[in-house]
Symmetry: C2
Subunit: 180 residues, 2 copies
Amino acid sequence: MNVRNICLAILFEGETTGYEIRKLSTEGEYSYFVEASYGSIYPALARLEEDRLVTSRVEQTTGKPARKVYSITEAGRRAFIDSLFGKLDDDVYRSQFMMFARFAAELPADLVENRLAERIAAVEEHIKTLEELGKKRTSDPEQWVLGVGLHSLRAHLTYLTENKDKLVGMARPVAASAAE
Amino acid sequence: MNVRNICLAILFEGETTGYEIRKLSTEGEYSYFVEASYGSIYPALARLEEDRLVTSRVEQTTGKPARKVYSITEAGRRAFIDSLFGKLDDDVYRSQFMMFARFAAELPADLVENRLAERIAAVEEHIKTLEELGKKRTSDPEQWVLGVGLHSLRAHLTYLTENKDKLVGMARPVAASAAE
DNA sequence: TCGCACATGTAACGTGTTACATGATTAG
DNA sequence: CTAATCATGTAACACGTTACATGTGCGA
């Protein structure tokens, strides 16, 4: 999924601005499986307009900067849906935390414990976000997709919490505090 | 995780060649959370050698091309472990399949069914690979990491198989075959 | 008054991918 | 004979990130 198609996907559901697209791709329903930043969204929208897959109109607002509202065209809808007919890219999972865990034996136990706690907190946070998104019920496919995310993330969380002590136990023991 | 650190991680466990590093990062124990191709590995190894984090020696082989075997230095070990002390990058999950599923309502049911079947097969394949890797038991942290992957992947697979019909049901119905 | 939210956009930079170039041996 | 595996490396290219530039209104 490149930024171009992410823009089309979001515009498929209704007109918005580049600013909003970034928000949606970072915090919205797509956030757990795509990503895009301003530096890629704005140029992508410009090219999309050149290619007549979207149109734009400038909306003057009082006070705030003018908004450039983009709408998808029929050609845009077709192009996006067509892209889903082709061979899909493989799913990608990248994790520096896993590399960290892989080398737990070389790291001090307290560091491993802290990082594990951080990771667990991050996953819990992520789950909460998806749960919030699921509440404002929208389309069925959206619920389905959110369901995949929640299910996997909860399984991930379960493993981490149930096995964290095991990993800490593999780490380099840290001298007990000088107390006593 | 950049390619540089992936190389160091693999060399941490023992000397090898760029060719082997790619194999390990693509098919080996690291494959499910990192990725690297020749075009990035060879330049990375060259820079690593300049920086004295690895050394190399050329091994003449009969018939096959000469192998350039890299070994990590003490400085390399330190640099790698140090990198794990710093703030870790967030985990990343990217999936075009999820985008596809999100727009199931715009797609023909048979396509959705096929793609789901493909995805399920791919996940099953991936699970099998991790199971194979887990058999040749190595270090405990490696087993732990593999455990995370297997656990999450199995949960993912379960969701897909249990909910595939639901998603197909959301897709555009395809005219039944002309048969009577 | 400080910083955040809104809002758009560019430029430099980093990083990695793909395809190409090269070439021998071995298994089918 | 053909394809695959072993093996290294480069160059062109694609893609995206980060930081910067610019500016207002509002709430704490």
